[in-house]
Symmetry: C2
């Protein structure tokens, strides 16, 4: 046990550039469509929601994009993050595999989300944005953006899924401490929210609904408010590649190279963040690293969804993109991994999965908590329920390597800690946690509502 | 803003030894007395509660004590911790001062407490201990020891102050996830607990009561259970010196040396951890670093207590030590900084304060939350209410330097994050938080109950 455990980078090792997978992806991106006309959107349309610099990043095919000094200066508050070899977990499993994890839980808000919240706030500030709107589920994304907007002195309105708002007051208070305004969605602040409340005053909300409200507020603000999304979009995934760029250097320090890279996927950003730099090496150097995305059985957009054009939100106000989707009207079951409860998947990730460059697996939640507790006991860190999905599959890979007697190098992303998710651990420890089957019937129904996109060559 | 912010050490820089201040302290330690006979205790008496290796550390005057490899291997899961220059906070304050903080919140449990929990568990395991008992207030210490006992495969019973047990279920669940048993103190598991419940079934408990219960269980276990304390004792403070030893190296990387080192004090361990290595430099090299301990106005043991022999616990079962104390029957007000609600203070720290080697200040809680929110907004990290005491005084020092136009180098210990303390932030943000005056009358009453220690030359 006296061998090296932590592989530490200095501030000077902080990546100077983000990696844009669109430069290398063998599958060309599909156009983004206007939700009304279903025609490809113009930058002008997107500029209602986003500052131009982020729109340019969204469609850029430059391989690397410089990280502004102002963003690096804030990254330095918590980056580079540790890469740890999970020697104690390896020992518990009795596996010949080597397990490494990138620890994004050390950020001030306890997750990887600031990696994109900070640049999004920066580019908005630079464009003169006074206020931002966004949605949040369990609160990881809202907290990160609240911190970032505070740093750049902008107002923030967070539309928080009502059931989480009620059940997770700690995250709300955290956002409010940074100065953000937090509303339980559906609210009476939007046409869409009011229409839902008129039908059912007890509507508990969903991420799709909250997105619709945040988009509506920005779209109808007359240019005073912009909208910010914490996953799915190209520029968001790109900002997260600081994770993988650091991990490449740290694996080099460890003198190893991963056979498999694992991350959980909701919209896809933390997985893309760690995996895309390794995909680049696969494409460039002929490496053979498997890139393995893990989703919950309850929202299996990659493994059970369709690859089609669909709305990003429930109210059909957000752009239409081609992605793996369960249908924008799909209502996910109440799993504890709130950050993974999204009907769609990042377009770039969907395309790469469709073309076979990325693998995916869907797993039920009880096993993820079993893995989370095993990890907590072995490594000390209590993971977020989302991250527990990656841990479950990392453990399964290590056990598979044991059965086969293989030395396998496994790297996974520990996207966040679970200090705000203790009630879910309580449920697990008391035997109250349940699994959810594949929601086949609900998906079959929801995909009936996909938009009819008639453009030649698009579908 | 492009100058260096983080000063990073590698795993190879992890301290190899703890620093024992007793080797250098100009004030000799006073004997520890038996609570019954009031005569100096023997190692045999202490061995009912502690393994011999920790007793030897408790009375050792060796300057440095080697950190066992098994302990270092676990330290490596989160150490060395970051030293950060708070450039954004400096800017907000407009101060010429340079503010540095040592970030102990990155440990798996979010505080500095594992620094001693891990070696205490290790030495117990090595001595054949099967189970440990301890107390916890808000839960920081209990969580750290739960993690450590889990690592070394020992059972742990935690006596948690009942009011915290009820109000802070998250910490309880965290401890249970590591496999610990947690009881709301006073319990019906001890004679002392039963006696209190007979008088008042609604007794909400206190740290002094919980200590008494944990001590009673260990003392009456027939040698099967040992007791562990998270602060106050010499060996506990010594284990925490890894903080200051790392900070010395990191200040060197920063090319500066602190004019003042600041930490909050309850029992004194996190303050001693960062301050004692700098005290050594003061004594050895004639450095002039001020060492400034910060306590709450509600439990002002250094600034308003008496320096006298007193019991460590409420039930008068723990040893009698000479310390700054408010009286062992003192019941502190319900401030949110639960870790600072203790009637006494570490003997080594009390002696150094009495002799003028250390300064102390007591501050009310509303100002600590004001400082905490200012720090959260400037640096991103939301601190524990305990750590907020150090931040308040660091800010005051920086503002004083501004008034005087001085460049002052300030170092404080960020002993933990506040992710489990969000309700206290809610109270502050909603204007519901109150200050507590110095509890002069209660202290005057409690010090009437100090033990009469008649030994010549002792008092």
């Amino acid at each position: 046990m006296s061998e090296q455990t932590g592989f530490t980078l200095n501030e000077t090792d902080l990546p100077k550039q983000w990696y844009n997978v669109l430069a290398d992806s063998p599958v060309p991106p599909q156009p983004v469509l206007h939700p009304g006309t279903k025609e490809p959107v113009t930058p002008e349309f997107l500029s209602v929601l986003f500052p131009m610099e982020l729109i340019l990043q969204e469609i850029s095919t430059d391989r690397f994009i410089d990280i502004p000094q102002e963003v690096s200066d804030i990254y330095k508050l918590y980056r580079p993050t540790p890469l740890i070899r999970a020697r104690r977990l390896e020992k518990v499993l009795g596996t010949p595999a080597h397990i490494y994890y990138k620890n994004e839980s050390v950020s001030p808000v306890g997750s990887h989300k600031p990696n994109t919240a900070i640049p999004q706030a920066f580019y908005n500030k630079a464009a003169g944005t006074k206020a931002i709107t966004t949605e949040t589920g369990a609160g990881q994304w809202g907290t990160a953006l609240a911190m970032a907007c505070n740093f750049f002195e902008m107002d923030l309105e967070v539309y928080m899924v009502k059931i989480s708002y009620q059940q997770k007051p700690y995250r709300r208070i955290f956002m409010e401490t940074y100065g953000a305004q937090v509303f339980a969605s559906p609210t009476d602040r939007t046409d869409f929210g009011r229409s839902l409340l008129a039908k059912d005053p007890e509507n508990g909300g969903s991420l799709g609904i909250a997105i619709s409200e945040a988009v509506e507020v920005a779209a109808k603000s007359g240019g005073t408010k912009k909208y910010s999304l914490g996953s799915v979009l190209n520029h968001v995934l790109m900002h997260q590649t600081v994770i993988g760029e650091e991990a490449l250097k740290q694996m080099d320090l460890a003198g190893e190279y991963p056979d498999v890279v694992i991350g959980c996927v909701g919209g896809g950003s933390n997985f893309a963040g760690i995996a895309y730099p390794f995909l680049r090496q696969n494409l460039k150097d002929g490496q053979r690293t498997r890139l393995l995305a893990v989703e919950p059985t309850a929202t299996p957009s990659l493994t059970k969804g369709v690859y089609a054009f669909d709305y990003g939100d429930t109210a059909m106000m957000a752009p239409i993109v081609k992605m793996h989707t369960l249908g924008h009207t799909f209502m996910p079951a109440g799993i504890h991994a709130g950050g993974l409860r999204y009907h769609g998947m990042a377009p770039s990730l969907s395309a790469l999965y469709d073309a076979g460059y990325i693998e995916a697996v869907a797993i039920p939640q009880v096993g993820t908590f079993e893995a989370a507790v095993m990890f907590t006991k072995a490594e000390g860190i209590l993971p977020a329920p989302e991250s527990a999905h990656a841990i479950r599959v990392a453990i399964d890979e290590a056990l598979d390597a044991k059965v086969k007697g293989e030395k396998r190098v496994i790297l996974f992303n520990l996207s966040g800690h679970g200090h705000f998710d203790m009630m879910s651990y309580q449920q697990y420890l008391s035997g109250m946690l349940v699994d959810y089957a594949y929601p086949s019937a609900a998906v079959a129904e929801a995909i009936q509502t996909l938009p009819q996109v008639e453009m030649a060559g698009l579908v």
